[in-house]
C-alpha cells in the first residue's frame, strides 16, 4: 500500500510546481474583500484539482493500469490507495497554500491577507473529498476523458457556489438561520459538525465501494 501512495506522490510532484504558480496567481486575483475569505480554500482546492486531473490524464495516456496491476498488488489496494492519496494531496495542497498565504501576509501587507485558519482547512477538505467522491468512480469506470468533463462541472459548482453563497449570506446576514450557520462555522456546535463529518464519511465509503466494484470487474 505504501509504495502505491509513494507512487502517487512521485507522479503528483510534477504537478505541484504548477499548483504553486496557480495559487500565487489566485492570491493576486482575489485580493478583494468579498473573495478574500475564500482564497485559501479555493487555491488549495485548485491545486488538488489540477493534481488529480494531471495524474488521471498521465495514467490514462500511459495505460498505467496495465503496469500497476502487474505489480504485486490486489485491485482492492489500488482503489484504496487512490482514495488515500486524495488525502495526501489535500495535505500537500493545504501546506502549499498556507505557506503562500503566509508570504503574502508578511511580504505584501497591502493586500491585507489574513493567515490560514481552521475554517479554510475544513472547507478545503470537504470540497476536495466531495470532488473525489464524485470523480473517482467515474475515473475508474471510464478513465480520463469523462473524468475531465465531470470534474470541470464539479469544479465550477464548487468554485462559484462559495462565492455566490457568500454574497447571499452577506446580504441576508440578519436572518436568524444565517446567524446560527455563522455560529456553526465558528465550530461552536460540535454535534452538528460531527453529523456533517459522518455524512462525509458515508459519502466517501459509498464512493469507495462503487469504485471498487467497478475496478474489480474491469479489463485492462
Amino acid at each position: 500500500m505504501w509504495p502505491l501512495i509513494r507512487k502517487e506522490m512521485i507522479v503528483q510532484k510534477k504537478m505541484i510546481l504548477f499548483g504553486l504558480g496557480y495559487s500565487v496567481f489566485l492570491f493576486f486575483v482575489f485580493a478583494n474583500p468579498v473573495f478574500q475569505e475564500f482564497t485559501y480554500s479555493m487555491a488549495a482546492f485548485g491545486i488538488a484539482y489540477i493534481t488529480v486531473i494531471g495524474v488521471a490524464q498521465a495514467e490514462y495516456k500511459n495505460n498505467s493500469d496495465i503496469v500497476i496491476n502487474s505489480l504485486p498488488l490486489t485491485r482492492r489496494e489500488v482503489v484504496a490507495a487512490k482514495y488515500l492519496s486524495i488525502l495526501t494531496f489535500t495535505v500537500i495542497a493545504l501546506v502549499l497554500v498556507g505557506v503562500v498565504g503566509l508570504l503574502f501576509h508578511f511580504l505584501l501587507p497591502v493586500l491585507n491577507y489574513r493567515l490560514m485558519n481552521s475554517v479554510d482547512v475544513f472547507t478545503t477538505t470537504v470540497s476536495i473529498i466531495l470532488l473525489a467522491s464524485v470523480s473517482l468512480p467515474i475515473y475508474f469506470k471510464t478513465s480520463a476523458q469523462w473524468t475531465r468533463v465531470v470534474n470541470v462541472v464539479v469544479f465550477l459548482v464548487l468554485f462559484f457556489a462559495p462565492a455566490q453563497l457568500a454574497g447571499y449570506l452577506v446580504q441576508n446576514s440578519q436572518e436568524p438561520w444565517v446567524r446560527s450557520l455563522a455560529g456553526l462555522a465558528g465550530n461552536q456546535n460540535w454535534l452538528l459538525s460531527l453529523t456533517g463529518l459522518a455524512v462525509l464519511v458515508v459519502i466517501i465509503l459509498i464512493s469507495y465501494f462503487i469504485s471498487l466494484r467497478i475496478y474489480l470487474n474491469k479489463d485492462f
Binding site: 505504501w2 509504495p3 512521485i10 498521465a58 495505460n63 496495465i66 505489480l71 504485486p72
Partner: protein, 291 residues
C-alpha cells in the same frame, strides 16, 4: 512434473472474439514461445494469466497456485515485459525505478544497476525520450531485478532490430541457466523463438492449435514439394494446405509418414520452419472461411 505455469480450459469472450478452452503447460526450467498471427489471442491470454482481464471460465495456476487467490504472492515472483511502454513517460528512468522497486520484496539494486550498465541506459533521461529498443531494455531491466522465477513477455521484440533481438535472446539464455525459472515469450516473429524456445504454443483464432516441444514439432509437420502431377485427391487429403504454381506445388502435411510412403522419392521433403507452419495453418483457416 513441476509446472511453473499451467493454464486449464481458459475461456473469455469479447463480443465477436472468443478465446476458447486455452490450455498451456510450462514446466519449470524451460522457455515457451507463444506464437500466432496478430489478433489471434496472444495478448488476451497473457492478460488473463496476469489477471489483467477477467475470465469467464477455466483456471490459471502459477507456481501451482491460483493466480487470483494468490495474486500478490505470485506477482512478487513474476517479471513482466509488455509490447509497449506502459510506464509514466514523463518520469526519468530513475524516478520510475523508484516507483517500481519498493513493490518487490526481493528487489536487488545491484542487479538493476548492472543491467543499466549492460544496456547502456541513461538513468537521468525521461522515458519518453528513449528509443523503442531502449524502452524495452528498461522494462527488461525492471523485470529481471527482483529475482523473478516466471518471466512473461508479450511481443518484446516487435519493432526492434535484429541486433537487439539477438541480444535479448542471449539474456534469456543466461536467465534460463537457473533451472528454477520459466519464461513465456510471445512473438509473431517466429525466427526469434525457433532456436531458443523449448516449447512452442501456437494460437490461432482464439484457440490453441498445438503446444509441444520444439523437436516434436519438427517430427509432426513436413514440408512437401513436387511436380503438379503428384497432386491427386489422396495426396491432398494428407496435406493441411497446398500452394500451387505453374511449375509445381509446395504444401504442409501433418501426417509425414503417410505422405512419405505415398510419394516416396518423387517429392522433396523439408522440415518446415515455424513461419511456414504458421503460414500454412493460418491460410487454411482463411480458405475454409471463404468456402
Amino acid at each position: 512434473m513441476d509446472e511453473i505455469l499451467k493454464v486449464d480450459g481458459l475461456c473469455r469472450s469479447f463480443g465477436e472474439f472468443q478465446l476458447k478452452d486455452i490450455s498451456i503447460s510450462l514446466p519449470r526450467g524451460y522457455i515457451m514461445g507463444f506464437i500466432g498471427p496478430n489478433g489471434a489471442g496472444k495478448t488476451t491470454t497473457i492478460k488473463l494469466i496476469m489477471n489483467l482481464i477477467n475470465r469467464d471460465r477455466g483456471e490459471v495456476l502459477i507456481f501451482g497456485k491460483d493466480n487470483i487467490k494468490n495474486e500478490k504472492e505470485i506477482k512478487q515472483r513474476i517479471g513482466f515485459v509488455y509490447d509497449e511502454n506502459y510506464y509514466y513517460d514523463f518520469l526519468t528512468l530513475k524516478e520510475m525505478k523508484n516507483i517500481i522497486a519498493p513493490f518487490y520484496r526481493d528487489w536487488d539494486e545491484a542487479v538493476y544497476q548492472r543491467y543499466l550498465k549492460i544496456f547502456e541506459l541513461p538513468a537521468r533521461k525521461k522515458i519518453k525520450d528513449l528509443s523503442r529498443g531502449m524502452k524495452m531494455k528498461f522494462s527488461l531491466a525492471l523485470a529481471l531485478s527482483h529475482g523473478a522465477e516466471l518471466i512473461i513477455m508479450d511481443e518484446p521484440t516487435s519493432g526492434l532490430d535484429p541486433v537487439f533481438r539477438s541480444e535479448l535472446l542471449d539474456i534469456l539464455r543466461s536467465e534460463i541457466q537457473d533451472d528454477n525459472r520459466g519464461i513465456l515469450f510471445s512473438s509473431h516473429i517466429t525466427s526469434d523463438l525457433e532456436r531458443i524456445a523449448d516449447y512452442i504454443c501456437f494460437i490461432n483464432n482464439g484457440q490453441i492449435v498445438f503446444s509441444q516441444t520444439c523437436y516434436e514439432l519438427r517430427e509432426k509437420y513436413l514440408l512437401v514439394k513436387g511436380p503438379l502431377e503428384l497432386l491427386n485427391e489422396t495426396v491432398r487429403q494428407f496435406m493441411l494446405n497446398v500452394k500451387e504454381n505453374d511449375f509445381g506445388f509446395e504444401g504442409l502435411s501433418d501426417q509425414p509418414e503417410k505422405i512419405r510412403r505415398l510419394l516416396g522419392n518423387h517429392a522433396l521433403y523439408e522440415v518446415p520452419s515455424l513461419d511456414q507452419i504458421v503460414l500454412y495453418t493460418v491460410r487454411r483457416d482463411k480458405c475454409v472461411a471463404f468456402n
